[in-house]
Amino acid sequence: MIHVCVIVLSLVTALCGMVSYKRLSIPFQLLSWYLVFNFLDNVANRIVISLYGNNLVILHIETLANLVFFSLIYNALFKNKYMKMSVLIFLILGILLYIINFLFIQPYNKVFPSTMLLFNELLFVAYSMVLFKQMLQYPLQINITQQSLFWYNTAILFFYSTMVVNFALINYYYTHNFQSNIESYFWYFSDITFNLLLGFAVFMDRETLYRVAPLKIYKR
């Protein structure tokens, strides 16, 4: 039942992104494509699991897609040219690491791509923190709850930091041979919240939103 909920929710957010595509700013247009991918990924996951009993292949693809999508989105969101450059460098580095991992360390048909997942998670958490800092440097005269950037960044910070904790839980249970579904529920809760926040971010975004108020740099 919870799988259906996740799929329906990802479908709704994907539709929300596509319907409002024209009025979205470039980063959120990219995000709406990610939401479409996310929906297809969720559907494919269920199919592959039912056919092969695991979703290793899908997870490998998903890891790479996430790296590309979120790196491009953050690249578009950052104002600092060095940060933009850093994002691109980390993207290229991540793709190279992915290829090495995919071929030699954690093969796509045998092992869960935990190395790359962890790399993504840490990278995205770092990006979200830098973006929060940027938001503080360039405050807009719009209520923060009406800013799509805030909801998007909160979604990223929330989901990827909880995934790090989730990994820790899974590893702990695995090494101590504990039987529990807690990490699964934890993951579902995080994924549903993530989708809701991303959907809300897309819903709130307007191409004109970040042009309305003058920006100012605060130097400390």
């Binding site: 938001m135 503080l136 405050p139 807009l140 923060i144 930091s161 909880t162 904790v165 529990s180």
Partner: protein, 264 residues
């Protein structure tokens, strides 16, 4: 044992979520304070910009008035004086009736020359500077009363002191603008000017018995004159209060701290 570990895991997870939520809330609060700081700075910049524009406007206005004043004094009145003298030379060669008309014309010319000189003085910054505010107001009142358009009553309380050239000039221009407003818009028959030289502050009150108005109901164009008065007062570290109501005339009160008080 397993239950204990699951409990600990739930507790840690809960703490983690609380930390995460706390961080986001902290960010929102910090962002809000930055927004407010930014807004305040922006307002300050805009106010400073408005004051600078006003200062420039006043400088240009003063320069223009000074030029007109000089032109009236050095050119127009000189030419008129010359005409008056020339007319005087014709007097002896004319018959009695025409001679009387010529004398009347010469008197009219004299009056015009005097009026122009007064006007020139009220325009000139140099003149205000040399006479001081109180004396300049007195002269202006005399000039207004001579015109028979309106009755202006001037009273002064306290011992006169200087507020500084720039401040006195701005105060006098405010007074002129207020009188002008009363003449143009209110249909007032009397204007009462009261200059109070208090130890701590100088207060200039200008009251008319005109039709009055509702300040809040003024449109942008009409209201800009009043805002201009308020902004000019702010520029000299003073405060202008404009009070009016339909049928009750208008009172403009300008309060400026004395230079000593400002220093302390």
């Amino acid at each position: 044992m397993q239950d204990d570990n699951i409990g600990a895991a739930i507790l840690l997870t809960g703490l983690f979520f609380a930390f995460l939520a706390g961080s986001v809330i902290y960010f929102v609060i910090l962002y809000r304070s930055r927004q407010l700081k930014n807004k305040k700075e922006q307002e300050e910049r805009e106010a400073f910009f408005r004051q600078e524009i006003l200062k420039t406007q006043i400088e240009i206005q003063e320069q223009t008035l000074e030029n007109i004043s000089k032109e009236i004094h050095d050119n127009v009145t000189q030419v008129l004086s010359f005409i008056k003298l020339t007319l005087g030379t014709f007097g002896n060669s004319l018959e009695e009736g025409r001679k009387m008309k010529l004398n009347e014309t010469r008197e009219l010319l004299s009056q015009t020359i005097n009026d122009l000189r007064d006007l020139s003085k009220s325009m000139s910054f140099e003149h205000i500077k040399s006479m001081g505010l109180s004396r300049t107001i007195e002269k202006e009142v005399e000039r207004m009363n001579k015109s028979d358009v309106i009755d202006v009553h001037f009273s002064k309380n306290g011992e006169t002191y200087s507020l500084g050239e720039q401040r006195e000039l701005v105060l006098f221009r405010i007074l002129q603008e207020s009188i002008n407003n009363a003449l143009k818009h209110s249909g007032a028959r009397n204007i009462y000017i009261d200059a109070q030289y208090n130890p701590k502050e100088f207060v200039l009150i200008l009251r008319d018995d005109g039709s009055g108005f509702t300040p809040a109901a003024l449109d942008n164009k009409s209201g800009s004159g009043l805002r201009n008065i308020e902004n000019r007062a702010v520029m000299i570290d003073g405060k202008a209060v404009i009070a009016s109501a339909p049928g009750e005339g208008c009172t403009v009160t300008i309060a400026v701290a004395t230079p000593e008080m400002k220093l302390t």
